[in-house]
């Protein structure tokens, strides 16, 4: 809270719940998209938000090759905190996109 008004850093948590793209969220809180991305970094660091990398694809053993849970890690999705876009542990190639959401959901 700064000067009785809610700061963009706190408002971004509220705006995440309204969904859309990060550009939409940045516009709603009145900052540039890279400022919003930096604020997300802060909340990811505090464990309040989670950033995940998403990509498509089949498992290494081929489609249908991961019936057993132990052998399938769902290659398209990773729950590892990925840092800013461009860093995507667990994925080969470039991720399709990154998602940002509250870090309150149960893990895999």
């Amino acid at each position: 809270m700064v000067n009785g008004t809610v700061s963009p850093l706190r408002r971004i948590l509220v705006e995440i719940h309204r969904g859309g793209s990060l550009e939409d969220v940045a516009a709603r809180i009145g900052v540039a998209p890279d400022e919003a991305a930096a604020m997300v970094d802060y909340w990811v660091g505090r464990g309040v938000l989670t950033r995940e990398a998403v990509s498509g694809g089949c498992p290494p053993a081929g489609c249908g090759g991961c019936t057993l849970r132990a052998s399938c890690t769902s290659p398209g999705l990773t729950r590892k905190p990925s840092g800013p876009p461009g860093t995507s542990p667990g994925l080969t190639g470039r991720p399709l996109l990154h998602t940002i959401r509250p870090a309150d959901a149960p893990g895999p």
Binding site: I16, G19, D41, C63
Partner: protein, 658 residues
Amino acid sequence: MPDTRTPTPTTTPLITPTCSPTPENTRTPGAPVVALVGNPNVGKSTLFNALTGARQHVGNWPGKTVQVARGTWRPADGAPVDLVDLPGTYSLVPRSPDEELTRDLLVDPGAEGRPDLVVVTADAANLARNLYLLAEILETGVRCVVALTMTDVARGRGITVDEAALAGELGVPVIPVVPRRRQGLAALADAVRQELDAHRPARPLHLDVPQDDDPELAAAEARYAWVHEVLAVVRIQRAGAGLTLSDRVDRVLTSRWFGIPAFLAAMWCVFTATTTLAKPLQDGLGAFMDGPVTDAASGALSGAPDWLRGLLVDGLIGGVGQLLTFVPLMVIMFVLLALLEDSGYMARAAFVVDRLMRRLGLPGRAFLPIIVGFGCNVPALAGLRILGNRRQRLLVGMIIPYVSCSARLTVYVLFAAVFFGSTAGTVVFAMYLLSVLLVVGIGMLLRKTLFRELNGEALVLELPPYRLPTLRVVGTQTWQKLAGFLKTAAGVIVATVTAVWLLSAIPLGAASGTSFGEAPIEHSVFGAMSRAAAPAFAPAGFDNWHAAAALGTGFVAKEAVVATVAQTYSADEPEGPDHAGELGTRLHETFEQSSGGHPLPAVLAFLVFLLAYTPCMATIATQWHEMGGRMTLLSTGIQLAVAWLLAIAVFQIGSLWW
């Protein structure tokens, strides 16, 4: 040994550093210590390599398990500098041992090895993120110089950073550099030397941090407010603020009105191009499999028993060979999809689908496994674990089987090419469109019945910038998907073909007097089973035993459908070279007969049934594991009912016109 301390996928080190267990021992005696600090992926290690050349060593920091590169920087006209490349970090609030080392060296004035000066590498294209770290560093009071990288990338986005204004705001020198081209390195050396020689104490940045129950948050708010003010002064957006080419394209591709039509148009282009481009290759490969390969195998097995020839020639070569003719088609489609994905367009498509699903009351995050499901339903079901609660997982798990996986594509293409000729691409596209409609429609139905209490959840998408697809990424993605398809074909299909051959070799009924492998396939156990199931499809116009047989093996795996079609027609054909390659003609005859003269709606009904009924045994097993037996049985029952009713509707309505 590659430098793995900081991930820098967008840069390549100029040299390969040599290893040393203790970089501390490699210090240049008497030389001032300068540390390179910055976010990951800002060109920090590239700058380090450009400054030190081959004079560097990588090893653990004393007392830590953190690897650090250390080298001697010899500017052209100055004394040597001991340069340390500290691990990349986003903040001085550490999240890892790497970041902890950077924090300790900068924050603790008594830390052993504390640098005399810090060069902060800042990315001009993502200045906000870099300024936050810079604010933290400036607060420590350590002397620093800013090396501004990626200015060309920023310019490409219509952003110019006023370096002089930035230096004025920060109170430290700001030097633009392009390490790969060695531009700005001399100016950086001058600035570093001047700061080192000045021997004046640095002026720490003091921010006005209000009292708060959460002092760390209050400090962060103050830093972000400072970042916002600095950006307002130093960042100059080109005229038409914010409207880069990427923004202008996004306005159309992600708009509420054009987003979905643009996505559908892109998909139509993909499927039309795929079927058109692949057809001659597929025909050529088909002729090769039916001709030289089959002839050679028959010749080689001329002395072998009939049952062995039947298994190898009619079964494996006929079935698997038919499926292999789809390899060119798969390659073309995977390449086109990889191009869309690597260019950044698929992320926009995911965005518009997410928005549509939210508007319809479905969980937005469901689009994540659904995207994966277009490749294969099994990992998509495994990916349900990313969803927030069990009710959401159950709902999405029940709609994923309607996502048209790549295995179903082979069947669409085979039948569409035979029955619809030049409009085959449109038919394939229509199947994918129906798949999306089923996902949304069934999802809404379940949402309003079994899952009424489901709540929405927060999700924001971070879209990548548009970029030129690279050969490496497109090639890797295509190969991975193709390899997955071929592995399945090599395993499940061979087993299914063998099982079908075995069942079709056991005589039954009218042929019960004949020996093993001698009876016509329609008078075998397999034929009898298929004929028993066929009447269920009479209202849908395809109550022929060939179709029933294909759908039966399709229950095991959709890749088996094409193989079974080839297998049953091959075995059913009279012997002789004149009948080779007549699969299309036989399919026409069969559907013409079973539909009472309406083959096109009958084939469409068959494809709709194939799309909507159970994807494969692996899907059922995964559903069982993720959702439990009761929900899996319910889901399978719903799929069969939906598939049957839709197929009947398509045939009955379609036969009014065709």
